[in-house]
Symmetry: C2
Subunit: 530 residues, 2 copies
C-alpha cells in the first residue's frame, strides 16, 4: 500500500486539515514528494473517542489475546520487508544496517511483551484470605491485581524511527497492558510512521480488535501534542525526546482539571568515570570503544556518553588525545533534521561560552550536503564543572565533554554534583574496586543504570532493564521505558473485598486457573487457595 | 516528658518562630493550655538538611535494621500508655475505644512493614544473566532492584490522629523504604503529634539511626506545607486530606524546577449500590449496618459511604425510611474542628442548592457544646445525579446522599457517570449476580476497591489492600497509601550492568544471601544464580 500522507484514525485514512508538511531527506536537506496532513482538533478528538470505545472492550481481554496481537504486529512489521528500512533510511539517514538492527529490536520487544503476558505474573496478584474469627471484627477477604488504565498517547522519538516510534517500546507496553494507543508521529519520519501504522492496523484488524485500539496522528506543530495531552479521555502520556518538549507536556498534563501521568524520557549526558588503572590497562582499545559509543548514530542516543571524567595526569591527557584523534578521524554522521543540527550548534556554543571550557576538536556545523556537525570534544576542569550546573546540559549529537579531575576526591565531588541522568559508567582496574564502589554508591541516587567497564549505549530489552532516572532524565524516575517492567506505567491496582470466587477475575480466583505466581497471605506461591 | 509545644528538629526541640496556635477541644470549642510554635522557614530548612544528611547513611542500611526501627517505634508508642489516648481524645473527641483501636492499627501496621522487610522480596530483584555468545553482540548481565528515594514529607491527617499521622501508614512505609521523614503535624492535634514524635525520636535514638531521620514540624498556616514541598532536597510528598489541600500541594510540586511526586489521598464519596434483592433480604439489619458505617467517627472517614444508589420502588423508599429513622435516632458525633463543621455546613448547603436535591433529615449545624452537624440524609434522582458532576462532591461528616434509580439501566448509567473514588460497594442477592457483575465491571475503572455486600469503612492493613483510586480520589492512582505495596511510593529502581558480584547489593548477588524471591531470566525463584 502506498504512503498516503494521511492520518490513520481508528483504521480509516483521514486528511481533513489544511496544515501540511513534508519529510526532509537529511542527506540532501531536500523535501520528499509526499505531502503529510497535520491532524485537526476534530480528528484528534475522533481518535481519542474511538480509543475510549475500544477500551470498553479490550479492558477485559485475556492476556493471551493481547499477546497474540503483539506477535501479529511483529509479524506484520517483518512483512513490510525492505520498504520499511529504505523508507526509514531516506527519512533519517541512519543507514540500513542500523535500521535492520532497530527493526529486530522492535519485533523482539513486541514478542518479549507477548511472553510476559503469557507468563502472567505481571498482574501482581495478591490475596489475603478472610479471618472470620479475628477479634474484635472478622477480617474480610481482600484480593488485588493490576488492570489497564485506558487510552494512552505515545509520542514517537526522532532518533529511533522504529524502536521508540509507532510500534516501539511505549506502544508495545501500552498494548501489552490492554490500553489503546494514539500515536503522535514524529515529523522527521512521517512516511516510516505511516508504513508502520498500516502494519499495526492490519494486525489490529486480523486479531479482531476494535479499530480504535490504534490511531496515528501526524503533525509538525506543538498544538497536536498539546491537544492530545489535554483530551479528557487520555489517561497517560509516554514521550521520548527533549527536556523542553517533555517538560511542556508534563506541565500541560499537571494543569489539567484531572491531572494524568507523563512518562517522559528526556535529556541525559550519561557520565563516564575513568579511574587511572582503567586508562593504564585499556589504552587505545578503550579510546576506540568510547569513540564508537559517542559517535554511534551520529551521537543521537539518549544514552550517548556526553561527559567523561578523566584523571588530570599525563596518562589521562594522553587518553584524551587518543579520543580526539579517533573522533577527528571518523567521518561525522548525518544528523536527523535541521532542528537537531541547529540545536546542537546552539548547545555547543552555549557551553563554550562558559568560563573554563575549551574546544579540543570540532565544535561547528560541517558544511556540504547533509545536516552534519563535526565530531566534537570539549574540555573543562572538575572545579568548573562542579560550580556550573549548566555544564550538564545535553548536546544531542557526536559531542562529549571531558572533565579533568585532579584526584579521586575531585572525581567523587563531581559525582556528587551530578543531577539526574539515565546512566553512569565506571571504568576501573581490579585494584581500584574500592574507590569504584564508592563512586558507584554516590551515583546510585542520580541515575537509572550503572554500567561497569562498558559504555551506556545499547539498552538491552530484558526484564531487569531500567531505562529511566531522576529528573531531568525523566519525569517519572520510578518507572522505565525499556524492559519488561515498562508495562506498569499503564496498569493500576484494584482490590476486591469479599467478592465471590466466580465473580473474581481468573488471576484472583481460588483455583489459580492461570497458574501464575501470586502472593497469598504473604507467601509467594503458584498453588491455589484452599 | 511533658508537651512542650515546640518543633522537633532532628531530635532537638526548637521554637524559633513567633507564630503560635493552640489546639481546640472540639467538645467545648475551647483552646487548650499549650502554646504551639509554627516552624519557621529556617527550622524547616534545618529539618530537611538533617534528613538529607541522615539519608546519606540510612540509604544503605540493610532491611533488617529498618525492620528493627519499625518494631521499636511500635513499642515506644505502646509505652506512651493511656496518656497518648487521653491526649488524642482531648484534641479530637474521637473517644477512647476508637482511639485504642486506632493505636492497635498503628502499631500493627508498623510491625507488618517490619515483616515485609524481613521477607525481603519487596525490593523486586530481577536478574538477566549475560549471553556472551549472542550475535551480533554479547548480551551483558543486567540486575535491577529498588532503592529508597530520599527525604519524604508526610502531612498528617485530621481524622486519624494516630494511624494516618506522625507514625501512621505514610511514615511507616517511608521508614520501611529507608527514607527519612519530615512530618507536618495537623494543627487539630499538635499535642498528640508531639507525644508520638517523642516516641519516634526515642526509637530513632535507641536504634542508632541519625537524628535527622525524623523531624516534626508544627504549623497551622499553608506556608509551612508549601515550604516543605518546595524544598529542593525533598523527594516525595504524602498527604491525606481535602481535595483543595492535596491539589495545592500537587500543583506546587509540579511547578518545581525539579518536579516530585505527590501521593495525595483526597476526597471520596464511596458509592454504594443496593440491588432490589439485597434490600428485600437485608431489611433492617442492612439499614443498621449502613448507618453505622455512615456515622462512624462522626462520618469523618475517607471511606464514608456518601452516595447510596437505591431502587425507586416501594421497598427501596422504605429502606431509605429505615436509614433516616436510624440516622435521626443516633446522637450526632462531635466533629474534629471548626473548619470541618463550617466546611460541612457549606458543602451540604451547596448540594441542597442544586435542583432536584432534597433534605430528608438533618442538614444543619447542631448548636450546643461541641462542633457538631446533624446526621443528614439528602436525596436526589439518578437523572439529576448523572446531569450534575457536582453532586459527587464530598460532605466530610455524617452525611449521605440517596440517589433513587428507576431501574437497573439507570443504576448502570449512574455508575458510568462516576468520577474517581476510593471505593465502590455493591449489595446484591444471590440471584442478582449477573447485574451486580456488570455493575462491578463498570465501576472498576472508577475506584481502587470494590466491596461486596459490605461497607467501605474499615480499611484492612494487608498485602492486597488498595487504598487509592482515580483523581479526584488521589493524585497517584497507581499507588496505595494503605497496605504493604504502599512502600513502593518511596522506592525507585536502579539497574546494574556487568557489575562484579562482590560489588553488587546482597539482593542481587549470585548466591542470593538474603534468600529472597527474585525473577532470574524470566523465572521466579529463590535459588542462586549458577
Amino acid at each position: 500500500m502506498p504512503i498516503t500522507g494521511h492520518n490513520l484514525i481508528a483504521g480509516q485514512f483521514s486528511h481533513d486539515g489544511t496544515i501540511t508538511f513534508r519529510s526532509i531527506d537529511p542527506r540532501r536537506r531536500a523535501p520528499g514528494d509526499t505531502v503529510f496532513y497535520e491532524a485537526t482538533p476534530e480528528e484528534i478528538d475522533r481518535a481519542v473517542r474511538a480509543a475510549a470505545d475500544a477500551f470498553a472492550e479490550t479492558r477485559n481481554y485475556p492476556a493471551r489475546r493481547l499477546a497474540d496481537l503483539l506477535d501479529r504486529v511483529a509479524a506484520e512489521i517483518e512483512a513490510l520487508g525492505d520498504e520499511l528500512l529504505e523508507t526509514a533510511d531516506r527519512e533519517t539517514a541512519l543507514g540500513l544496517p542500523r535500521l535492520a538492527g532497530e527493526r529486530a529490536r522492535t519485533t523482539s520487544q513486541l514478542r518479549a511483551f507477548a511472553a510476559l503476558l503469557r507468563e502472567g505474573s505481571y498482574v501482581e496478584a495478591i490475596i489475603d484470605t478472610a479471618l472470620p474469627n479475628r477479634q474484635p471484627t472478622p477480617r474480610p477477604d481482600i484480593r488485588r491485581m493490576l488492570f489497564p488504565i485506558g487510552p494512552v498517547t505515545v509520542f514517537a522519538a526522532s532518533n529511533f524511527p522504529l524502536a521508540f516510534s509507532v510500534a516501539g517500546g511505549d506502544t508495545a507496553s501500552a498494548f501489552a497492558a490492554g490500553c489503546p494507543v494514539i500515536l503522535k508521529a514524529h515529523p522527521s519520519h512521517p512516511a516510516t510512521s505511516e508504513l508502520t501504522a498500516q502494519a499495526v492496523n492490519r494486525a489490529v484488524e486480523a486479531q479482531g480488535f476494535p479499530a480504535g485500539f490504534f490511531s496515528l496522528v501526524q503533525g509538525a506543530s506543538v498544538e497536536v501534542g498539546q491537544a492530545l495531552v489535554r483530551h479528557p479521555a487520555i489517561e497517560a502520556v509516554a514521550f521520548t525526546g527533549s527536556l523542553r518538549g517533555g517538560r511542556a507536556l508534563f506541565d500541560a498534563a499537571a494543569a489539567r482539571a484531572r491531572p494524568i501521568p507523563v512518562y517522559a524520557e528526556m535529556g541525559s549526558v550519561n557520565p563516564v568515570f575513568f579511574l587511572p588503572g582503567a586508562i593504564r590497562d585499556g589504552g587505545a582499545a578503550l579510546a576506540e570503544g568510547l569513540v564508537a559509543s559517542v559517535t554511534l548514530g551520529a551521537g543521537q542516543f539518549c544514552t550517548n556518553p556526553g561527559l567523561l571524567f578523566v584523571p588530570d595526569t599525563a596518562e589521562g591527557r594522553a587518553f584524551v588525545g587518543m579520543v580526539c584523534e579517533r573522533m577527528a578521524a571518523r567521518e561525522p554522521g548525518v544528523l536527523l533534521n535541521a532542528q537537531i543540527e541547529r540545536g546542537l550548534a546552539g548547545a555547543v556554543a552555549e557551553t563554550l561560552s562558559h568560563p573554563g571550557v575549551e574546544c579540543l576538536i570540532g565544535g561547528e556545523i560541517v558544511p556540504g550536503g547533509g545536516y552534519c556537525f563535526a565530531n566534537t570534544v570539549l574540555q573543562t576542569t572538575a572545579a568548573a564543572f562542579i560550580a556550573d550546573p549548566a555544564l550538564q546540559s545535553e548536546h544531542f549529537g557526536p559531542v562529549t565533554l571531558v572533565v579533568l579531575c585532579a584526584d579521586e576526591g575531585e572525581m567523587l565531588a563531581a559525582a556528587g554534583a551530578l543531577h539526574g541522568h539515565l546512566t553512569a559508567s565506571i571504568h576501573a582496574a581490579p585494584d581500584e574496586w574500592g574507590v569504584a564502589a564508592t563512586l558507584a554508591d554516590r551515583v546510585r541516587d542520580k541515575v537509572g543504570r550503572i554500567v561497569w567497564n562498558g559504555f551506556p549505549t545499547g539498552v538491552e530489552v530484558v526484564y531487569a532493564m531500567q531505562h529511566g532516572g531522576p529528573y531531568p532524565a525523566t519525569t517519572a524516575p520510578a518507572t522505565t521505558s525499556v524492559g519488561m517492567t515498562a508495562i506498569r506505567r499503564f496498569l493500576r491496582p484494584v482490590a476486591f473485598q469479599n467478592v465471590p470466587d466466580a465473580l473474581l477475575p481468573p488471576a484472583l480466583q481460588n483455583a489459580n486457573p492461570l497458574g501464575i505466581w501470586r502472593i497469598v497471605n504473604g507467601q509467594w506461591t503458584r498453588a491455589g487457595v484452599e
